[in-house]
């Protein structure tokens, strides 16, 4: 743990509290869930934060709404530009719809159809790019230059990070009401926005808890960066079932927070995420997308580490293609997934 002063960080606890005020009447107040089957499977006390039930089907609405709520009317009216594989896109589209301003989303061609459809349905324009060959940020910059709009990063933005932190605020409040102090909070992580927001909250309210990323194998840039102390890139740009968690490297702002407050976490396989999706459907009655299930997968795949402890698992999103969910259910029925 470094001892950087909190004042130097892009967000502070108060920013998350301010975001919570802005979001109060807009976000779904998801409640922590418990499951005897999950507790028995892990041998731990596991609390689940079901952000798949959030507006737009993922936590991303929180950050997008908070960011847009912080803009002045003139800037907002010039429109919002974003890059996203889908969940940030839907969050931005929904928030832009709320504020009656235009949104343009630079979205990979291989994004799930469900996410494309919903982004369009919320009224946003989609500009496609190839994940392997195109530079999405360059495309977004061009649009911003032409439109005068505002680029909103999916993660590397103080307003977005503070908005995502409201997930952590609600977890901390619910656990306090239960009289419970968790040992660890596992967070599906890509660019690190959600992780940074939750880590900021827990450092302030529950400093003894370890806040850790759960990333796909091959995309564990945040854990490797936390271990090395400097931002690491992933060798690959495609190749995970978790379409929402394939960032190239941690954000500058998010890593500034995470290197201070978060701990190295876990990398999980496609099979472990599909097993977690099947588990969530069977035992929690929740539909979770592959990336949204990475934290649950990390707990189920590392029971020996969590046995006897109190753990919070964030289910960050549920926008999965029905065919992918059906595949996870079928593989589990055939016994082809880890238990």
């Amino acid at each position: 743990m470094t001892s950087e002063p909190a004042a130097a960080l892009p967000i502070a606890f108060g920013d998350v509290e301010a975001a919570a005020s802005r979001l109060r009447s807009e976000r779904v107040r998801t409640e922590l869930m418990v499951s005897r089957a999950l507790n028995e499977a892990v041998g731990a006390r596991v609390y689940v934060k079901p952000e798949c039930l959030q507006r737009t089907g993922s936590f991303k609405f929180r950050g997008a709404f908070n960011r847009l709520a912080m803009m002045d009317d003139d800037a907002r009216a010039r429109g919002i530009v974003a890059t996203s594989s889908g969940n940030h896109a839907q969050g931005i589209a929904e928030a832009a719809h709320h504020f009656c301003v235009p949104a343009t989303i630079v979205m990979p061609t291989d994004a799930p159809e469900l996410k494309k459809t919903r982004t369009r349905r919320a009224g946003a324009d989609i500009v496609p790019y190839d994940r392997a060959t195109d530079d999405r940020f360059a495309i977004a910059e061009t649009i911003v230059a032409q439109s005068g709009g505002t680029f909103v990063s999916p993660y590397d933005d103080a307003g977005v990070m503070a908005g995502q932190g409201t997930v952590g605020l609600e977890i901390a409040h619910d656990l306090t009401a239960l009289g419970t102090v968790p040992d660890a909070v596992l967070v599906p992580t890509s660019g690190g926005g959600l992780l940074s927001g939750i880590a900021t909250v827990f450092r302030h309210l529950v400093p003894g808890a370890e806040v850790m990323p759960a990333e796909p194998e091959g995309f564990d840039d945040t854990t490797r960066s936390l271990v090395s102390g400097a931002r690491q890139k992933n060798a690959q740009k495609t190749g995970s079932i978790a379409d929402a968690l394939m960032s190239e490297q941690p954000g500058l702002l998010t890593f500034a927070v995470n290197r201070t407050f978060a701990k190295p976490g876990f990398a999980v396989s496609d099979e472990a995420m599909m097993a977690a999706m099947a588990f969530a459907a069977r035992e929690l009655k929740l539909v979770v997308e592959p990336g949204g299930a990475s934290a649950l997968a990390a707990v189920l795949a590392n029971r020996e580490i969590f046995a006897g402890r109190t753990v919070v698992v964030v289910l960050s999103g549920g926008n999965v293609e029905p065919s992918v969910l059906a595949k996870a259910l079928a593989l589990e029925l055939r016994g082809d997934l880890p238990n």
Copy 2:
């Protein structure tokens, strides 16, 4: 509507309030959900009560717990006997586990494996019967005679009915907080316990709302009984995908309430329930079992009736075999289900 005095009915509003007190620290307080996609699909304002997220995966825990909480210690200690295709079984098993008393469940051989496994996991004994040829009540009576235990009906029991009514109490409270008065409340219905509890609450708090059953085709005994004014039997005993909704006829006690307070409702096909399951997975991120989706199916299949109205849909349970959920998702992907 008959004008029978409420005093003659097996439960009154106060019984539901008393049940709510007993259940307060035990049940999951499920919150009403809204979905823009659902509102747009139906052309109505639809509120969803997700009892698939209830403890044991269905509302049945409420009635079972309330009934057992009302028993004296001596009676409870002699054990509980019940007949159920699965959700009442799990509710009884969970409540019996809470009070540390034995439970024996008479369960059809064709009950979903998931429900059998969970009932056993909660510590209950299962006695199997054949749905087509055996008399489950005669089997239960024999066990009661031998054990001195107490038979708890899945629906025809004032304590169970009052417990299920807490679903309606929560719906009414949530809608009042939103300043909304619903036109209709659609309730998955078999023996009629949940319907009777919700109808009792709404007659007291929101008398303008129509509380209506949603039943499988071929098992619409409650609606036919409400139309005719006397209890009607179903011609068939098996043959619906909705394993939870295949009662032979309305209960005596439940029908006394429902004929007074409920309105004739809807019969839905297997395909409509599977379409509703797929809709719930895709848009609500919820796993719902076929019978639990009957009310959602009724709304989706009768949009012309509900257009422009405010409707509450109860999703009563989520204990579906993964293979059945996968089948619903696959059929919808192939375009083989109604839209």
